[in-house]
């Protein structure tokens, strides 16, 4: 049953993603919203690499997301006006930070791990917030924009053609998601799932647990940084809010809402969250209450996530 499911569902997901800019307007959205869904979906999937497939409760991924955003923004503004280089450096900055923090916390578990990741997430927030001369402080980094994409034989103007930008984002998304799927199918991915299922048994089998958790943390942080870099390019702007712990919480709720145990779940969760937030914040000033209520409802009624519920219905 599930095997047929995958063969049908995966092409449908890709078909929806490929055509999204064309029907988004018709259902009341806009292309930028479509970009946001894909980018934040990637961030939520990155978080879920740890949360759902390694079983480690990380709650500070906005840090790596935000560092990716700042890496990209500062590359274009100060270093070299190239979109590709911006993305590359954004990913490098975020991944290196995740590698350092990951090394400090790889021995911790459960609530302790969660608390430490939350707290460490804030270091970078304060650094960016306070280091006015370089990061622009509270105002963020403005006065730059994404550069035309030079492919050698042709140049694509992704700045003014928002559909072209969407497809660039989608291409990076596809690359990242493909890599993620490959990693999860590799011996590494299987080992991570084994750690999730029973850490003690995996340890007895000789798996170096700490090294695997560190690796998973770094990979996950790297994907989050990619999402962050794309996010900065999307708005041609970045500010300290892209590093704040509230964003980390949003990533986790996206993953939980869609279904932590499924590969595509976080993308679905992100789509629902982003559209809802867009709608609510344009209709009421008290959007925070709605988002908060949303958290409470999801935890109370959909702890398995939407795809988790569907899978269960189909499986049993």
């Amino acid at each position: 049953m599930t095997a047929i499911d995958k063969r049908v569902s995966t092409p449908i997901i890709w078909l929806l993603l490929l055509t999204m800019p064309y029907w988004m307007d018709a259902v009341g959205g806009y292309t930028e919203l479509a970009c946001r869904v894909v980018v934040l979906g990637l961030a939520a999937m990155a978080v879920n690499f740890l949360l759902g497939f390694t079983g480690v409760l990380s709650f500070g991924h906005a840090a790596y997301f935000g560092l990716g955003a700042y890496g990209a923004a500062m590359t274009i503004k100060y270093l070299f006006p190239s979109t590709a280089l911006a993305i590359l450096l954004g990913v490098v900055v975020g991944t290196v930070a995740a590698a350092v923090i990951g090394a400090l916390i790889r021995k911790l578990r459960g609530t302790y791990f969660a608390m430490v990741t939350i707290a460490f997430g804030q270091v970078f927030y304060f650094i960016v917030f306070r280091w006015n001369t370089v990061t622009g402080g509270d105002d963020g980094i403005t006065g730059w924009s994404r550069q035309p994409l030079n492919l050698g034989f042709t140049t694509i103007d992704i700045l003014h053609d928002d559909k072209a930008f969407y497809f660039m984002v989608l291409a990076f998304f596809a690359l990242a998601v493909g890599l993620m799927a490959l990693l999860l199918r590799s011996p590494l991915g299987r080992t991570l799932v084994a750690i999730r299922e029973n850490e003690r048994r995996a340890r007895f089998l000789g798996v170096p647990i700490e090294r695997h958790i560190w690796l998973s943390f770094v990979i996950s942080g790297g994907f989050a940084a990619l999402a962050g870099a794309l996010f900065a390019l999307l708005s041609n702007f970045t500010d300290p809010r892209s590093l704040h712990w509230t964003l980390s919480g949003n990533f986790v709720i996206m993953a939980v809402l869609g279904g932590m145990r499924s590969f595509w779940g976080p993308l679905l969760g992100a789509a629902i969250f982003v559209v809802l937030q867009d709608y609510v914040s344009s209709h009421t000033e008290n959007w925070m209450s709605f988002i908060g209520l949303f958290f409470v409802l999801v935890v109370t009624f959909f702890p398995r996530g939407i795809l988790g519920i569907i899978k269960r219905r189909l499986g049993q």
């Binding site: 949360l51 302790y112 707290a119 304060f126 925070m288 958290f295 935890v299």
Partner: protein, 289 residues
């Protein structure tokens, strides 16, 4: 120079005492129920605003006395209705629930009392500086430290000497056995949550007198409390107290030499502690799951 340094150490101690007060409440809840209460900052704000609203009727002292109790009452109700269902499940869910509550509480405060910062009047004899030549310290700050010391002393007395405190400590060590011995664990956790929220409310009223009042007051204060718990060691209340004071002093001293790193320094400290002692300064080996 030494004078400035001394002043900042003392000031750091005051701030640290305040962090500790908030962190102790968080720690109580975390130890017994395994819930990372993200909404702690939200409860803190509610406590402060309640005191602000009742001040015209009961004055500063009445607010200080009643508002934290009311906040604890709200906490007890919230625990009954929402948080209780999540005990025994993955800590992820209670974390997300309290995260959502934090959003709601901040927004409720904004909705009722407005987004603008409002001043929180304190008795005039507390606002006059005790000494302008040596230390520029207002009586309020001294009063804060004294009150925190009394409350923390009382808390440790309650935990050490009373039946309820004994049960809380026993439950922290082994909840199942405590339950098997006939203690109503559900009520115990409920009261313990209320106690933790009481401390949050009290911290809120005290903070309002020092910083003024705005809806985000809790959100900005919750991270240092997390750091205090981690530095001190998860599962250890004396550790939390120590952690709070340490990061307060560290921030105070840093403010002299490198002002822009005032906030970051506590995280650096946390990193160093984790590097040397992954369980925190007073955390016990094997106590953390």
């Amino acid at each position: 120079m030494t004078q400035v340094l001394l002043f900042n150490v003392f000031n750091g101690l005051i701030v640290g005492a305040f962090y500790a007060l908030m962190a102790l409440g968080l720690s109580l809840i975390l130890n017994l129920s395994g819930v990372i209460n993200f909404a702690h900052g939200g409860f803190l704000a509610i406590g402060a605003y309640l005191a602000y609203s009742m001040m015209p009727y009961v004055g500063f002292w009445g607010g200080l006395l009643i508002a934290p109790l009311l906040t604890a009452g709200i906490g007890i109700i919230v625990e009954r209705l929402l948080i209780r269902r999540l005990y025994g499940r993955d800590p992820l869910y209670s974390l997300l629930l309290t995260f959502g509550l934090a959003y709601i509480l901040e927004d409720v405060a904004r909705y009722i009392w407005g987004a603008q910062s409002v001043p929180y009047p304190i008795p005039s004899w507390l606002t006059t500086p005790l000494s302008t030549s040596f230390f520029f310290i207002t009586g309020y700050r001294l009063f804060m430290v004294a009150l925190v010391a009394i409350v923390v002393g009382a808390l440790f007395l309650v935990l050490g000497r009373t039946r309820l405190g004994m049960r809380i400590r026993a439950g922290t060590a082994d909840l199942e056995t405590v339950s098997a011995l006939g203690v109503n664990v559900s009520v115990l956790r409920n009261l313990n949550f209320g106690l933790g929220i009481y401390l949050a409310g009290l911290a809120g009223v005290l903070a309002a007198g020092m910083l003024g009042l705005q809806p985000t007051i809790g959100t900005s204060l919750i991270m240092p409390s997390f750091v205090a718990i981690i530095v001190g060691g998860l599962g250890s209340l004396p550790g939390t107290l120590l952690g709070g004071l340490l990061i307060g002093v560290a921030s105070g001293v840093t403010a002299v030499f490198f002002p822009s790193a005032t906030e970051a320094v506590m995280y650096v400290m946390m990193g160093l502690v984790l590097l040397v002692r992954p369980r925190g300064l007073l955390g016990e080996e094997g106590r953390v799951q």
